[in-house]
């Protein structure tokens, strides 16, 4: 494996500087954002590198768990901030976060103990990257699914109430919308499973190959990752859509859109 020196990175950064210079000349108004984002990449990744180095060195379950929960809460916030109409109070945050917790953590634990079978199961070199990839993808699915559900319920208030009035229960009245929302959350991962390797080489596999792994080993890991992500996203989307749709009604099967607030 060829290690990169800071001088090498400096060379790569010239490309970003050149882009910033040209966008300044063209008055795109993006040069500041571009430079700030590039700097954030450097700082955030260096920090995470430091954290990971310490984590790998100590390999203590407590610290690894802390790291995992920080990742989870940030993902929960990201889900919440992408909702056009979100549940008021702690509900929206709680439902999104707990759905991701159940699916991502369970799938990661399964992968560590039953698939990769590493000892101890929380070996951070495996646990943290796996969890990160799962959370990142589940986060997208969950926010898409929840957003679709609350938006559609808002738009189709009249239809939902008509169905309730004809004696349907809350599950029947919002059933079609729920199915649509789960589909919306799951389609991206299904598409990316269908096209991966043809349209794009998955990032993780690329990384492993660049770092010197034999292609077949990288491919096997990538296949496992795709399966884990599909499962984690699917279960996370289902849980979040079910919990959200339940909370859109009260115990007397009344549609409670007053529990939503818009931006």
């Amino acid at each position: 494996m060829i290690t990169l020196s800071y001088l090498d990175l400096g060379a790569a950064s010239l490309l970003v500087l050149a882009l910033a210079g040209i966008s300044f000349k063209m008055r795109l108004g993006l040069h500041n954002q571009l430079l700030i984002s590039a700097s954030r990449t450097v700082i955030q990744l260096l920090l995470v590198g430091m954290v990971l180095r310490e984590l790998f060195r100590t390999s203590q379950l407590g610290w690894i768990m802390l790291m995992a929960f920080v990742m989870l809460t940030v993902a929960g916030r990201a889900v919440q901030s992408r909702q056009k109409r979100r549940l008021k109070g702690l509900w929206g945050y709680g439902i999104g976060t707990s759905s991701m917790f159940i699916s991502s953590f369970a799938v990661t634990f399964f992968a560590l103990t039953a698939v990769v079978s590493v000892t101890p199961w929380y070996t951070p070199q495996y646990a943290i990257p796996l969890l990160g990839m799962l959370l990142g993808n589940t986060m997208n699915g969950v926010s898409l699914g929840m957003n679709q559900l609350t938006q559609t319920a808002w738009q189709q208030k009249a239809i939902i109430e008509q169905r309730l009035l004809l004696g349907q229960d809350r599950g029947q009245a919002i059933g079609d919308i729920r199915i649509d929302s789960i589909r919306t959350g799951m389609i991206p991962i299904i598409n990316s499973m269908a096209t991966c390797g043809i349209v794009s080489l998955p990032g993780m596999m690329t990384g492993q190959i660049l770092a010197g792994s034999p292609p077949y080993e990288a491919v096997k890991y990538q296949i496992m990752i795709m399966f884990l992500i599909a499962a984690g996203t699917g279960f996370g989307v289902m849980a979040s859509v079910f919990l959200t749709s339940k909370h859109l009604f009260d115990e007397r099967h009344r549609l409670r859109l007053d529990r939503l607030k818009s931006d």
């Binding site: 189709q156 009249a158 309730l164 009035l165 004696g167 079609d176 099967h253 009344r254």
Partner: protein
């Protein structure tokens, strides 16, 4: 006896009201738009939160599950909604019952209507079919929010007849929201009017002046 009795019902922060409708009786309800007629009906169908008690047949609303209650206390909204592709999909298994076909015939539909595409129905057709859809649940009480607003004179008559026969045959207490004083006289034995926060019986109002 299926009487609809309303005890200190308060909805949307309004002061409580009391009234009752005897079995098979129809009362009309009028009042300016925005006066809360539809809100009252929504509360009676337990679709909005309310305080107080509503009894059907001496049984309180909360003794039933909400879907059961709404099947018995049938609310017809001013504008009907349709969400499947064909009319028949909305009737489920009730589609071919003898009653449904009879009601359809009374409103000039033949049973073929069940295969019609919903997006090709006119407003009036939707309204008349919504009435049949409501009755297919065999409600014990009727809450009708301007059931004839989008109909021509001939169809108004047919709908009035159909609903009156259903009400009498099933002893169903009925609230009929209407803007037409002539219609109120035709269909209702008592006429109520919403005035501000109050629900006033029209003739009482007059005699007290």
């Amino acid at each position: 006896m299926s009487q609809l009795r309303i005890e200190s019902l308060s909805y949307m922060g309004r002061p409580p009201v009391d009234f009752f409708i005897n079995d098979g009786e129809c009362i009309s309800l009028s009042g300016p738009s925005g006066s809360g007629k539809s809100l009252l009906l929504r509360a009676l169908a337990d679709l909005d939160e309310y305080q107080g008690r509503i009894y059907l047949d001496q049984k309180e609303c909360h003794e039933f599950s909400a879907p059961q209650w709404r099947k018995q206390v049938g609310l017809l909204m001013a504008e009907s909604c349709w969400w499947f592709d064909t009319v028949g999909d909305h009737f489920g298994l009730l589609e071919n019952s003898k009653d449904v076909n009879g009601w359809l015939a009374q409103l000039d539909f033949n049973p073929e209507v069940m295969n019609w595409q919903v997006n090709r129905l006119s407003t009036g057709e939707k309204q008349r079919l919504a009435i049949v859809r409501l009755l297919a649940n065999r409600p014990k009480a009727l809450l009708l929010d301007e059931p004839t607003a989008s109909l021509d004179k001939r169809n108004i008559e047919k709908v009035e007849d159909l609903l009156t026969v259903y009400r009498k045959e099933n002893s169903a207490p009925t609230i009929w929201v209407s803007h037409d004083p002539e219609q109120e006289k035709r269909i209702a034995s008592r006429r109520y009017r919403i005035k501000g926060d109050l629900i006033i019986e029209e003739d009482h109002d007059r005699s007290s002046r």
